[in-house]
Structures are given as structure tokens and as C-alpha cells.
């Protein structure tokens, strides 16, 4: 399978260099074929919620690529209920890059960005996105909407792409402080975003549709929060890719009926799952799902499981449909990732709520936010009784990680946990 992916990646890369439209069409064809497989021959070992999310995410990416003129390029942390209410497809930047990686084609596009002068040490998700745009694989979206949360790359990538494509952009600045002043500041920007969208799209937004979308977000968030105690008690057969899909479903997809359906299905699956067993880990930050030794250890394995990724929990903030702008702003301002100490505290709380045996803090290449905090995170988590592994790697670019080193670190950590009587 790895060889097939490699060949597919090379074919996309080669075609994109000659004719970007053809490269995109090949990628889209490959994804559509894979989508057919997911719908008609899903992986039955996965619970229904995870089968549903795999097919849904595939469809979402195909839609972004097929209809860029109806899409807004967004950062993963950007609330998208306004887009949902105005029938704009959220084109999630990080999800797109993850799919380029899934096709095995990311290195060439990362290099295309480096040739332009972008630092080799820049976040690979953003670098692959930029390279895809510069080389024409990623089509121009209708517009761009992004927030400054969580990292500096958001302040650079989207500004550069707006200039590159010459499309309008709206920027939501989120101060790194959690108080009512910051909440009002962000809520006012989101209100202005509505005006921006109406002007750019040439149509008005119906308030009722926004309220409905925010209400769906509220129900989705409530269901996902209800999953946390269930994850503590039950072992859901799963894979790491499903966790990554959930990041999109708990962020840009909030407000959609599909995300609401997924959350409800996940809760049902968890309630019906067998009692918790094996070594159960909390994963911090993105997951390198392209790495064979990582998947080999955690995919559909009763003995070792990643029971949650903190990125999926980052957006689970209270929602009030009667205050849609404040609700979306609250998600940004009171995000457990909006500040160092709050992120440490929330990681400890989450590890306790899940009853985790240990924590893996993944330091994704170029992500100063997580790397800079990793030593503090490890220290505080271990003080609270959660052995923590700092794992360096790259969630999106094969060039910046070594399978051998990753496997040794993970195996040693799991052996250590077993030696300490966990699981």
C-alpha cells in the first residue's frame, strides 16, 4: 500500500509541475475512488461513527477541490457557523495539507514553498499549503477567513495567499488573554465578518440560519463533551486517522448537521463499547498518521490506545444560540490553547477526566507553540501523575522525521508504562 501511495504522490507531483489543473484532477479522481471504497466497502472493524467520519471527510475534501469558487480558505480554528449559514464551503487549510500528505505528495509541495524563500523550519501543514498554492495544485478560493489563534503561521500564510490569489481576506485577531474585554473585541470582529461575507457574496445572511447553525454547534459540543467520561470507561476500537478527522469535525464543521450526527453516533458507539482495557493514552497536538510505526502501534490495538487527542477537545466551549457572535468568540478567547498556563492546566484536567495512563506530547516540526511549552507540560503532567513522552516529529512532511527513532521512543515509553504496572 505504501508503494501505491508513493507512486500516486509522484504522479500528482509530476503532473502538477506540468499542468496544475491536471494534477488537481488526478488528486480528485484518486480521492473520489477512495471515497467510493469508503462508502461501499468501509472498514468494518471501525465503529459506525468512525466509518461515517471517514466517508464524510473524504466528501468534504472532494467538495473543496471541485468547487473552490464556493469555498472560503480557513484556518482550522476559525469558527465557520457564518459560512454554514451562507452556504460557503469551509476549505480547511490543515485538512488539505494532511490529504496531500495522505496522497504521498507533500514533500514536493513543501519544497516548492522553500524554493520561494519560506523557511525550512516553517510549520509543514502551512508550507505544504503554500507550495500547493504557488505551484497551482490548490485552486484559488472565493475568499479567505482566518484567525490569529493558535500560531504565528496564521498571521503569515493566509496574508501571503490572499496576495498570491488576489482574493479578499478577513482576519480575526484573538488576544492571548481570557477576559470579557477580549471576548467583546473578538465578538465585534465576528459581527464585522458577517458584513464582509454579505458584501463579498452579494447576498444577505438570514439571522435564523445562523442561530440554527450555532444551536447545532451547541448540541455537537454537548455530545462531544459527554463522550469524555465514556472514553474513560470504555475502549472504542479506533485508529489515529479517525482522531484526526475529529479535529475537523469539532472545529470548522461545527454548525453543520453532519458534525452533529457524528457526535451523536460517537456517543452511542462509546456507550456500547467494551469496558476500558490496555494502556490508554492522551495525545497532545497533531498526530503523524502517515508514519507506519505509529499506526502499527495504535491502530485497532486493544493493548495500546490513543483514547483522545486534545485538539479535538480544544473547541468544546459552552454555546448560547441566542448569542451567536459571543458563542463563537468564546470558543476562540476561552480556548484552552489560548495561553500557556491555561493549556497546561487543561491538559492536566483532560488527562484526569480520561483516566489516562500516560500522555504523548507531540512536537510537530515548526510548531513553536507546542515545542516551547513541552518541557513545562511534561513537568506539570508528571507532577499530576501522568508519565509524559515528548515526541519530536512532523505531522505532515516525511522529510522531518525518522521512523526508527519514532518507533524506539514510543516502544520504550510503552514498555516503561507496562513496567510501572499500567494497563
Amino acid at each position: 500500500m505504501a508503494d501505491v501511495v508513493e507512486m500516486f504522490g509522484r504522479a500528482i507531483d509530476a503532473l502538477a509541475a506540468r499542468d496544475p489543473d491536471q494534477g488537481r484532477r488526478l488528486m480528485l479522481t484518486g480521492l473520489r475512488l477512495f471515497g467510493l471504497k469508503l462508502r461501499h466497502l468501509p472498514d468494518r472493524r471501525l465503529p459506525p461513527s468512525r466509518q461515517y467520519s471517514a466517508a464524510l471527510i473524504n466528501r468534504t475534501v472532494c467538495r473543496m477541490l471541485a468547487h473552490p469558487e464556493q469555498a472560503a480558505l480557513v484556518s482550522v480554528f476559525q469558527p465557520c457557523e457564518l459560512l454554514e449559514a451562507m452556504d460557503v464551503i469551509p476549505m480547511c487549510a490543515e485538512l488539505f495539507s494532511a490529504f496531500v500528505n495522505g496522497c504521498g505528495a507533500e514533500s514536493a509541495f513543501a519544497q516548492a514553498a522553500e524554493v520561494e524563500g519560506i523557511a525550512e523550519t516553517y510549520c509543514s501543514y502551512h508550507k505544504v499549503l503554500l507550495g500547493s498554492a504557488f505551484s497551482g495544485l490548490l485552486p484559488a478560493p472565493k475568499l479567505i477567513v482566518n484567525t490569529s489563534l493558535v500560531c504565528d503561521a496564521n498571521n503569515l500564510t493566509f496574508r501571503t495567499l490572499a496576495e498570491h490569489y488576489d482574493v479578499p481576506r478577513f482576519y480575526v485577531d484573538v488576544p492571548p488573554r481570557q477576559d470579557e474585554t477580549a471576548l467583546r473585541y473578538v465578538a465585534e470582529q465576528l459581527l464585522a465578518l458577517q458584513g464582509f461575507l454579505e458584501e463579498q457574496l452579494g447576498r444577505s445572511m438570514q439571522e435564523e440560519r445562523l442561530r440554527e447553525a450555532v444551536a447545532r454547534s451547541g448540541r455537537t459540543v454537548a455530545a462531544l463533551r459527554a463522550c469524555i467520561p465514556e472514553k474513560r470507561e470504555h475502549s472504542l476500537p479506533g485508529d489515529l486517522t479517525s482522531e484526526m478527522y475529529e479535529i475537523y469535525l469539532s472545529h470548522n464543521a461545527l454548525g453543520s448537521s453532519q458534525a452533529e450526527r457524528y457526535a451523536a453516533m460517537l456517543l452511542d458507539d462509546l456507550k456500547a463499547a467494551p469496558r476500558a482495557r490496555g494502556i490508554r493514552l492522551l495525545w497532545l497536538h497533531t498526530i503523524p498518521i502517515w508514519q507506519t510505526p505509529v499506526k502499527a502501534l495504535f491502530d485497532l490495538n486493544d493493548r495500546y490506545q490513543v483514547i483522545a487527542c486534545d485538539m479535538c477537545m480544544e473547541s468544546l466551549c459552552e454555546v448560547d444560540p441566542e448569542r451567536p457572535y459571543e458563542s463563537m468568540a468564546r470558543r476562540l478567547v476561552f480556548s484552552p490553547w489560548n495561553g500557556g498556563q491555561v493549556r497546561v492546566d487543561s491538559s492536566v484536567r483532560l488527562a484526569k477526566a480520561l483516566g489516562a495512563d500516560g500522555v504523548i506530547c507531540f512536537c510537530h516540526w515548526g510548531c513553536k507553540q507546542t515545542m516551547g511549552l513541552s518541557a513545562v507540560l511534561k513537568n506539570e503532567l508528571e507532577k499530576a501523575g501522568f508519565p509524559t513522552l515528548i515526541l519530536n516529529g512532523d505531522g505532515c512532511d516525511r522529510r522531518n522525521a525518522s521512523d526508527g527513532q519514532t518507533a524506539t521512543r514510543l516502544n520504550a515509553f510503552l514498555e516503561m508504562l507496562e513496567g510501572q504496572g499500567h494497563g
Partner: protein, 547 residues
């Protein structure tokens, strides 16, 4: 006297500190290592952030006012907060835009800072004193002199980089980096809300840094040359470099980690850039004009090469020897060997020009960077050359030439072995091959193999895994060649390389690498017979021009 409050960013409201009689002192750290920072944070943070940590912890600084300029500054704050033991540590939130809402938000932050300073000093703010300091800062604004200058842009360079540049440049250097000139508009006489007006002045600085979404492109009009400084693992200034590349001013990109460790590499680049701008032109000492022959010595990291030319510019002797432990001794031996090879004695030499990393450690009438020398040598060997690809032991460089052999642009690899001769040497050692065997094997591959890792250590681990999986050595070598070629071609593209291509340096002898580069460039790459002597030849030609 009380310890000052240290700060790093030009958006820091230092005038407010004056209102409490506090001294503000800017940190300009240049540590020799990151022993402390790597342990309490992470090695892959930007060098500037790590330098701030190193300096704060190493010097026992207890008062620090930070601004959330970037991810790393935020994390420096988090790490210091978690460690405890500071008397005063505050992170000021700085908006990314500059509208009424942002000014109000920053004014709120200034009130928070004021309250914290009241707690620290037990005193109230002296508003008159703040106004006085503010007026003083506004008056002391940079007086821009007309005339040509060298612009230093990009990320914080500090005194270390600025001094190096000023020493090498004949023209004035203007510091336009993120921590460079601070230009605060002065206070208006009648201000209803003092802190909001002060916030507006801070946000309204003439040269906003890259994080500001409203930042216009850096103004470099009138600059004779632009030096763009990036810091490893800093996100921002690669984007500035990208924008500057599109302009007409000659541009040099340099990357550091804010330590003095890469001083040699830095000096070479800056000197070569000044030579390219025509600032380095000097005539040889007339006293040296005493012989019929000239010599060029290239002191590299792996080998030291020497070339002797007669007055007609013909090579009459040469030598290539391992550099060994000392550059001076290695150069002496190489020159002696070249003289022997030519049947000459040192007395017969009219001039000696040195180049390469060890150029200043060895004797000679003049030292010139290897960029200029390689260009000169390559143009002599192949006048049609417009792009020189030179891969040596620790450096890879791409030099663009005009039809007269004049350097018009160049780029070099950063402080990393990937894509250099050292990388291939390490891999050859892992595979228990000689470099010649490696060169041969690289042409006999069957399967198109990819070594994806950029890092030398990771690549070595990939090679070990491939050996364990019984992969044919020729295929592994091909994968390595492809990896070096990818890195090299990326440099070629950055430099705007055009045919005809000429390759010099030790790696030019590896035919597999040359073939892989040709394939990626879809163009022929000529390797002159004297490829390895190119730098020494260029130095000798410069010596000849000088007498």
C-alpha cells in the same frame, strides 16, 4: 541602584517605566550555547527566543517585560513563569491590527502594566515624567541621512550582526530588522485619554514588524544592497525574504541562530556580498610585485588547494592536500607542494591571494571570499557559465554570473550538513564505501529510491534501515544522490539559476550526483577538469589582476 527592567521588543512601552523612575534596558543576547534553554524549553525554538531564555537565566535577570511578538516570546514567558523566581515578569498583549478597537485594547494592557508597576514600586505613576520620556523618544528618532546605504532587514540581528556588517561595509548600514529603529510619534499637547494616545503612538510606529497585519512592505529604496537576516525556526522573516527577492536591489539572505558560532560562515557571506557590490575592490600591496608568478590558496574544510599561474594566466603548478588540523599549516604544505609541482620557489611568487574558510588564518597579500574566487575561476574555465554550483565539504553554494564573470547573485546552504560533501562522506562511511566507489555505484542503480529525511542523522538512520532490508547499495546511493540533488536544485532555483551550468568543488567528482542534478534541472552541467581547483584558481587570477 535598582535592577533595570529588561525588555526585547520595540513595541515595549518603556516610557511608562520612566513614570515610575525605573530604568529600561534592552536585552541583546548572543550566548555561546543554549545549554539552559534547550533543557527548559525545546531545541527547535528560534535562536532569538532561546537566547533571551539563556541570557535571563544565565545572568539571573529577575525583571523582564515581554510583548507577545511571536509564538516564541509567548513561550519564553510561559517557561519563565513556570520556573518562578522572577520579581517582575509580564507579557503584554499586542494587537495585530491598528484600528480604534486595537488601540483601546492596548490601552487596557497599558493600564494593566501600570497597575503591576504600582505594585512593584509601591508608587504612583508620574504622568509628567512619562510625557517627558515620550517627547524625548520622539525627538531622538532616527535622522535619516540621504545617500546610498546598506539595508539590514529581517529578524533581530543585534549588535553582533550589525557590527560585523558595519566593519565590512564602506557605506552606512540602516538597521531595519524587527528590533531595529524605534520611531514613536510624539505626544499631542491636549490628550483626553493619555494611555489610548500612547497606545496609538506605539502601534503607529513608522516601521511595523512582520506580525502586524497592516505592515507595508519594507522600504529599501535607495539601498545599494539589502541584507535579509532570518533566524532558524523564526516563522516571520522568510516571508520578507520572499518579498524582497522580487525587488531589484541586490539581496543577501543570511540565517543565524543568534549565537556567535557561525561567525566564519557569516563573514564569508557578507564579504562576498560586499565584493559583489564592488565594495571590496583593493589593489595589491605594490611591494609584493616582485615575481613572475602568482598563487591562489583555497583553504577549505576538507582539502586545501593551491594553484600557481604564470603572467599569462596559465596553470604551471597545483596541489590538493587534506586540510588537517590547522588551516595555516595545511595552506603552507599545499603551497609548497604546488611550488614543487611547478618547479618554483616561494621567492618567485609576486602575489598570493587566499580564500576559503581558513583564508584569514593563513598568510597572503590579500584574502577574498570563495564566492568571488569560484566565480572568477569558473568564468576562466568556462566563459559560457552563468550559474556555478559548488558543493564542498561543509558548504553548498550557487553563484550567478553575468557574461563578464561578475557575481550577480549567490545563495548558500544554512548551518546544516544536508546536501554537502560532508553528508555524502558520512553516508559513505555508514555504507563502508570509499567516495570513489560511491560515485561509481550511483550510476548503476535499478530502483528509483528516495531518502526523504532532510536531517543528516535521520538520513543515516534511513540508510541503516535500507541496508537492513537488503536494499541494493547502488539504489541507496542513488537515493542519497537524489537527496543532495534536490537540496542543490532548490538552491539553484532560489538563486534564479540559468544555463550554462558549471559544477565545481569536491562533490563535482561524484558523477551520480552530477547526473541527478542534470535530471532535475533538465539541463547539462559541465564539470571542468580542474573543478576542485576552481576556488584556488580564482584566487590566483585575482592575484594576477592585482600585480
Amino acid at each position: 541602584m535598582d535592577e533595570p527592567i529588561y525588555y526585547v521588543c520595540k513595541y515595549t512601552p518603556i516610557e511608562l517605566l520612566s513614570g515610575f523612575g525605573l530604568r529600561a534596558e534592552r536585552l541583546d543576547p548572543a550566548p555561546v550555547s543554549f545549554e539552559c534553554a534547550d533543557g527548559c524549553a525545546h531545541p527547535n525554538l528560534c535562536g532569538y527566543g532561546k537566547a533571551i531564555l539563556e541570557e535571563t537565566l544565565g545572568r539571573g535577570i529577575r525583571r523582564l517585560l515581554l510583548v507577545d511578538c511571536c509564538d516564541v516570546c509567548r513561550r519564553v514567558y510561559d517557561v519563565l513563569l513556570a520556573r518562578g523566581g522572577m520579581d517582575f515578569l509580564l507579557l503584554l498583549s499586542l494587537p495585530h491590527q491598528n484600528g480604534p478597537a486595537e488601540r483601546a485594547l492596548l490601552a487596557g494592557e497599558l493600564r494593566r502594566l501600570q497597575a503591576a508597576l504600582e505594585r512593584l514600586t509601591g508608587d504612583n505613576v508620574d504622568r509628567q515624567e512619562v510625557s517627558r520620556a515620550w517627547r524625548k523618544a520622539a525627538k531622538a528618532q532616527e535622522q535619516v541621512e540621504g545617500g546610498p546605504y546598506i539595508a539590514l532587514t529581517g529578524a533581530h540581528g543585534g549588535a553582533l550582526l550589525l557590527c560585523l556588517l558595519c566593519q565590512r561595509a564602506a557605506l552606512p548600514v540602516r538597521d531595519l530588522t524587527c528590533t531595529g529603529i524605534r520611531t514613536l510619534p510624539g505626544p499631542e499637547e491636549e490628550t483626553a485619554d493619555f494611555l489610548t494616545a500612547y497606545a496609538a503612538a506605539l502601534l503607529g510606529q513608522e516601521r511595523p514588524c512582520m506580525r502586524m497585519q497592516f505592515r507595508p512592505p519594507t522600504e529599501t529604496a535607495g539601498a545599494v544592497g539589502v541584507v535579509c537576516h532570518t533566524v532558524k525556526f523564526c516563522d516571520y522573516y522568510g516571508f520578507e525574504y520572499r518579498a524582497l527577492k522580487a525587488r531589484k536591489e541586490p539581496l543577501l539572505k543570511i540565517e543565524t541562530d543568534c549565537t556567535p558560532q557561525s561567525g566564519g560562515q557569516l563573514r564569508t557571506r557578507i564579504e562576498a556580498f560586499m565584493e559583489m557590490l564592488g565594495e571590496g575592490e583593493r589593489k595589491m600591496d605594490p611591494k609584493s610585485d616582485r615575481g613572475q608568478y602568482v598563487a591562489g590558496v583555497d583553504s577549505g574544510s576538507s582539502s586545501t588547494d593551491a594553484v600557481i599561474l604564470n603572467r599569462r594566466g596559465e596553470i604551471v603548478g597545483s596541489a590538493i592536500l587534506p586540510t588537517g588540523a590547522g588551516a595555516a599549516a595545511g595552506a603552507e604544505k599545499a603551497l609548497e607542494a604546488a611550488l614543487r609541482n611547478a618547479g618554483l620557489t616561494a621567492d618567485q611568487l609576486g602575489a598570493v591571494v587566499t580564500t576559503g574558510y581558513g583564508r584569514e588564518a593563513i598568510g597572503g597579500q590579500r584574502s577574498v571570499t570563495e564566492i568571488t574566487c569560484h566565480a572568477k575561476g569558473a568564468h576562466h574555465l568556462a566563459p559560457e557559465a552563468r550559474t556555478v554550483i559548488d558543493i564542498g565539504g561543509q558548504d553548498s553554494k550557487v553563484i550567478r554570473l553575468d557574461e563578464n564573470g561578475q557575481v550577480i547573485n549567490f545563495v548558500m546552504n544554512d548551518k546544516c550538513a544536508a546536501g554537502t560533501g560532508r553528508f555524502l562522506e558520512m553516508m559513505a562511511r555508514t555504507m563502508e564505501l570509499s567516495l570513489d566507489e560511491m560515485s561509481e555505484l550511483g550510476l548503476r542503480w535499478q530502483r528509483d529510491m528516495q531518502i526523504s529525511s532532510m536531517c543528516t542523522v535521520f538520513a543515516e538512520s534511513e540508510v541503516v534501515s535500507l541496508i537492513a532490508a537488503n536494499t541494493a547499495s547502488s539504489d541507496i546511493v542513488h537515493g542519497l544522490n537524489e537527496s543532495v540533488a534536490a537540496k542543490t536544485v532548490s538552491l539553484v532555483r532560489r538563486a534564479g539559476g540559468e544555463p550554462a551550468y558549471v559544477m565545481t568543488g569536491g562533490v563535482a567528482r561524484n558523477r551520480g550526483v552530477v547526473q541527478a542534478i542534470e535530471k532535475k534541472l533538465s539541463a547539462a552541467v559541465r564539470v571542468p577538469e580542474e573543478a576542485q581547483l576552481c576556488g584556488a584558481l580564482g584566487a590566483a587570477l585575482i592575484a594576477l589582476e592585482g600585480i
